[in-house]
Symmetry: C2
Subunit: 334 residues, 2 copies
């Protein structure tokens, strides 16, 4: 590998994304990316008694299905990196407790999936692993209950609010293979610009996305036109606009090839999701479903995926704190 600047690694032997899997909930299954997901379930509970158990089932079934699809024997997978938004990451630890693969719990809020891809890539590049799994999940109901209001309240949501994606995405990364390849990773720093509105997460996370975006371009010497698509994790409609404007002030025009997973996953006009999708599962399912498909079909040949996370919760908001953000990027090429 080569270190490019302080935050970017370029892999001389790019890491293969061998297989992915995505399973989503009913609303995501009705959205514009429906056909790209491996499966969608009709019921948010998925035959479980609680939303937390349902979310665990999403990540469990997604990871198991990813392994099965890959044809790689489970006992040759060296590590699993996984996390989620629930307190103490219980979706991952309960969902994956029967996996019997050495396990690293990670937490990067909605940046978790790409954080896992970065860690897995470094492990594989350094010969610590031949195969490593990355997975993340979120669930609209468990997230609303935990972060906002009881669902039964039918609370109104402001126009800047985003809709937590119900679903899980997983990717199996390997030392050898035909690609698509992870060619570089740019690790984010925590960025806190003092934004305090917990109903405007896209605005809170956009500065972190900008920092990682600009750092990636500076470190690699690339510019926006290098990529067929630049995709952020879950800035949503408002955060997407902010990032485009902020990037322009730094001299980068990303308007032609930039989109956001939270914008792509729902139909804004028909699905009443306000500013778009969010949650660990947003970037994870859109990548594992739609984007991976586009890469396999070579409709995208070079993409930059920047997952964004708001490192906050209701306790910190109640204590008057602002919202620190983080963004981790991977470039993927075929």
């Amino acid at each position: 590998m080569q270190k490019l600047g302080k935050q970017t690694i370029k892999f001389d032997n790019p890491i293969t994304i061998t297989e992915t899997c995505s399973i989503v909930g009913p609303k995501e299954g009705e959205g514009p990316l429906s056909k790209y997901f491996d499966k969608y379930v009709e019921d948010e509970f998925w035959e479980e008694k609680t939303w937390e158990k349902a979310e665990s089932k999403f990540i469990k079934e997604t990871v198991n299905s990813c392994i099965t699809k890959s044809g790689i024997p489970s006992n040759t997978i060296d590590y699993c990196f996984a996390g989620d938004l629930l307190n103490q990451c219980i979706s991952s630890s309960f969902g994956l407790r029967e996996l019997a693969i050495p396990f690293y719990g990670i937490f990067g809020a909605c940046s978790t999936f790409v954080e896992g891809m970065q860690l897995a890539s470094v492990f594989i590049d350094g010969d610590a692993a031949d195969h490593a799994l990355c997975a993340a999940s979120s669930h609209f109901c468990s997230a609303e209950k935990q972060f906002r209001f009881p669902l039964e309240l039918g609370n109104q949501r402001p126009p800047s609010a985003q809709w937590t994606v119900t679903g899980s995405g997983a990717a199996l990364l390997s030392k050898n293979g035909q690609g698509p390849f992870i060619t570089t990773i740019t690790t984010g720093k925590i960025i806190d610009m003092g934004i305090k509105d917990a109903n405007s997460m896209g605005a809170a996370m956009a500065p972190a996305a900008l920092d990682t975006l600009v750092t990636h371009f500076k470190d690699t010497g690339r510019n926006p036109s290098y990529y067929d698509a630049i995709l952020t994790g879950d800035l949503g409609h408002i955060g997407k606009e902010i990032l485009m404007e902020l990037a322009e002030t730094k001299g980068y025009n990303i308007k032609n090839n930039y989109n956001d997973c939270g914008v792509l996953i729902f139909n804004k006009n028909e699905q009443d999701v306000h500013s778009g999708g969010s949650g660990c599962g947003c970037c994870a399912t859109v990548f594992a479903g739609y984007v991976f498909n586009m890469l396999k079909q070579k409709k995208y040949k070079k993409i930059l995926l920047i997952a964004t996370g708001a490192l906050t919760n209701s306790t910190t908001s109640q204590q008057g704190e602002s919202i620190p953000g983080i963004a981790h990027a991977v470039s993927i090429e075929v």
Copy 2:
């Protein structure tokens, strides 16, 4: 590096632990390891308005002091791996938001500190980093409030309960140096033996500690007598007894050189902590304070540190779930 078995890595170029720092609360400052900590504060609030903000201050001051003590310029530290027990790991993300070092949030419950040491070691070994920070924190008051009962209730605690350590430990790992050296790492799998008593975490985590302990011996060909000391993270008095018995059933006698950080940090008879200390800060402060000191003085020349985590919370307990555990081990030699 060499992979030994499925879960262990042996470093051909062992990773140096350049510096550590530990800052603890008043109860820990009155305990038997008091003189080994860099600092203890008299007030659980440490001049902050909330326990969560105080916990963030512990990890912030500990990490900053670790960097200062090391003499390594902050801008040459490549990554920081940190986590804690608070929902969404807010102690770490708020405490370290001004650090300006590429950041990976991790969650392994009380195994977090050693999880960070393992990830940092693989990054350094694979040339992704020259220097990497690992840190973890916990706080008795923020943990009681979040996981158990309001402190104001003065609730009785059963004899099997453990006392969450208030404090933070940090370690700076480096590619080159004089040691002590991380020579091997053994990554844990999630182990759930069906124990449901949330007031007996030591018992719940002991099977995970056993699994990693036995795997480490099998993978490395070592046996308990190889080490001057085998230390678990926070099994406490009850979990320690269980682990010794379980190890014996597997043919390993660890009675002569085994102890637990949760046993060491408090005086059981005088400090009313029942089964001992726990929390991410337990293993982190005992290692960064006492154990690192013993290694530097060469009173310990070879140790095995096995941090244990209970991947659970009050929601899963209320939903009738058992308690999955995990344990990550590092061997450290001078």
